[in-house]
């Protein structure tokens, strides 16, 4: 039986980490993800877990690296400027094929930017976000409920594919309060025979490293990692759609932008405009096949995002530029009203590209 309570998105995420069996959290304060640390600072000691405030974002992610080496579910959370600092650790986690959960409750940038919500870290998240060839599984919650459910999924995916799962939220989804059904699932237990637990004098030593000085060996490592990524693309791509059966105007949006877009689509339908919404739940892997199929009946796509146009490139790639794709965006911490998005839909319905 799910226990339904009213909570903030950030708190829902933190509670989900506990439900997922995560007992090791390392973080550094930053707005607007503050509630995650505050919640876990209280909850972890109650259940014998570790909450440790690190000296920096960098240290926090390397603590996650250490705990993950030990075979434990570990996480860190931050917001945009802090994720830039964590990019070193993201690369090392990928290079060592370690599972981890990393949360980015995005705020506006670049630089110190602002503390209001944004979606301007899309490139950073979906392209790996550090040096070298790698990807993270990027999950985009659009409600407090999904902050909970996608965190559960994120830990499972990270363990299954030995890679980082990133929750790419934004300040609105993190801060707003909604009903959350706390699913009482048993955490998935994944064997980690590679973990550093000490040899006990009973086995050969384990080494976890991202250093391969022989180029043949390093090439092989990269190829096998990308073969695993291919499996993730085939099996784990996820999205939600709304009014898409006969849509001629297709909005593509995630997170808070998807909530606004959904309202705008409903308003457009009342006016007789055949609009629909595809909401990627995984940003990497991106639901490219779904968009390509939609292009058979969609005349124009609108990328609704809180950035200067980042996801729009993935839409264009997905549909191979076979239809016009227009950007509908607000940035700097601004969020469009449904009416603004509706106006864009109406222009698109008249055949205008934006």
């Amino acid at each position: 039986m799910a226990n339904t309570i009213l909570m903030k998105g950030n708190e829902a995420l933190a509670e989900a980490a506990i439900a997922a069996g995560c007992r090791h959290y390392f973080g550094y304060p930053i707005t607007p993800q503050t509630e995650i640390g505050a919640y876990l600072a209280k909850r972890m000691p109650e259940i014998g877990g570790v909450f440790l405030q690190a000296e920096s974002e960098i240290a926090a992610i390397h603590m996650v690296y250490g705990a993950s080496c030990a075979g434990k579910r570990a996480m860190t959370s931050s917001s945009s400027p802090g994720i830039s600092l964590k990019s070193e650790g993201l690369s090392y986690l990928a290079g060592s094929d370690l599972p981890a959960l990393v949360v980015n409750v995005q705020r506006a940038g670049p630089g110190l930017g602002g503390i209001q919500p944004a979606q301007a870290d899309y490139f950073q998240a979906t392209r790996g976000g550090g040096h070298g060839d790698f990807r993270n599984i990027v999950l985009a919650p659009a409600s407090a409920q999904e902050m909970y459910s996608l965190t559960l999924r994120g830990f499972d995916l990270a363990d299954r594919y030995n890679m980082t799962a990133m929750i790419l939220a934004d300040g609105t989804i993190g801060q707003m309060m909604e009903q959350v059904a706390l699913e009482s699932a048993e955490p998935t237990r994944v064997e980690k025979p590679w973990a550093l637990t000490g040899t006990r004098g009973e086995r050969e030593k384990h080494v976890i490293t991202s250093l391969y000085l022989a180029p043949e060996e390093l090439e092989e490592k990269n190829l096998s990692r990308f073969a695993r990524y291919k499996l993730v693309e085939e099996r784990e791509t996820d999205f939600d759609s709304y009014c898409m059966e006969d849509a001629e105007i297709c909005l593509v949006a995630y997170g808070i932008a998807a909530r606004v877009s959904r309202s705008a689509v409903a308003m457009a339908r009342e006016k007789g405009i055949r609009a629909g919404l595809i909401r990627p739940i995984t940003l990497w892997p991106f639901p490219s096949e779904t968009l390509l199929q939609a292009a058979s009946h969609v005349r124009q796509f609108l990328s609704v995002e809180l950035s200067m146009g980042q996801m729009i490139q993935d839409i264009e790639l997905a549909i191979r530029c076979s239809r016009p794709v227009s950007l509908v965006s607000r940035v700097g911490g601004m969020i469009p009203a449904p009416e603004e998005v509706l106006a864009a839909i109406e222009r698109a319905a008249k055949g205008e590209t934006l």
């Binding site: 090791h24 960098i58 390397h62 080496c69 384990h206």
Partner: protein, 249 residues
């Protein structure tokens, strides 16, 4: 009668270290300490970035390698995830005293129950002999070709003296590898740094002055003499902090 043999905690892999480098001696002292305490089955090492990045090939222990300077953070994660394990970092001077200063200082401040072996050879070795945070005043390196200029680069970081100012850490000591006597003292200090962790006492750091004949441009014998004439006067040997001695005293 066998009077000397390879410690169980070392592999048979030949090291890649240059002739006259004392990393090999320090590796052996660490392995001997782990053997002596009988903790090899639960010890996990964290190698740094630098000359000893491949230390995981030489220790017969579970090992990982951290990003440059982050070993104390990785060790913190390992130890907090599994407090029964014995966790040590092995770091050079660029790794610990420059890029990883924050991680080292805060692990010490938290009195994180780990052991840090800090190898100070006053130079960045692996990249070819650049000036380190511990390079001596007027020391000639690749990036201080006229000698370390105090006006331009400031003065060296004395890690033991600095960390000993913190209330947190359990044990801070500096030893050297340039004579039999000093190696024997180093062995004792390193063993104590591991025993402290076994006893749950907290953060123990041993700074080991080490020779780098290749990048110092000296013969191995001259390098050991330079440690005596130049390094040790600047970096005095001794115990800078020892909470358990205070208890016993």
């Amino acid at each position: 009668m066998i009077v000397a043999s390879r410690p169980k905690s070392m592999t048979t892999a030949p090291t890649h270290y240059c002739p006259g480098c004392t990393h090999g001696i320090i590796h052996r002292l660490v392995a001997e300490a782990i053997d002596a305490l009988g903790i090899e089955g639960r010890t996990i090492g964290v190698a740094p970035v630098g000359c000893s990045v491949l230390a995981y090939n030489y220790f017969n222990l579970d090992m990982t390698v951290a990003a440059h300077g982050r070993a104390p953070a990785v060790a913190t994660g390992l130890k907090r995830a599994n407090p029964e394990s014995i966790v040590f970092t092995y770091q050079g001077d660029g790794d610990l005293a420059s890029i990883g200063m924050a991680e080292a200082v805060h692990a010490a401040a938290r009195n994180e129950n780990i052991t840090v072996i800090f190898v100070n050879n006053a130079v960045y070795g692996m990249t070819g002999g650049q000036m380190a945070p511990t390079s001596l005043p007027r020391q000639v390196t690749q990036t201080s070709p006229l000698g370390r200029d105090e006006a331009l680069c400031g003065l060296p970081v004395k890690v033991c003296e600095m960390l000993a100012q913190l209330d947190g850490p359990e044990y801070i000591a500096r030893v050297a590898t340039n004579s039999v006597k000093n190696v024997l003292s180093a062995k004792k200090a390193i063993e104590k740094a591991f025993r402290n962790q076994v006893e749950g006492r907290g953060f123990s750091l041993v700074e080991v002055l080490s020779a780098c004949p290749t990048n110092w441009g000296m013969t191995p014998a001259d390098a050991l003499r330079w440690m005596d004439s130049a390094m040790i006067p600047y970096y005095p040997l001794g115990v800078f902090k020892d909470k358990s001695a205070k208890e016993e005293g």
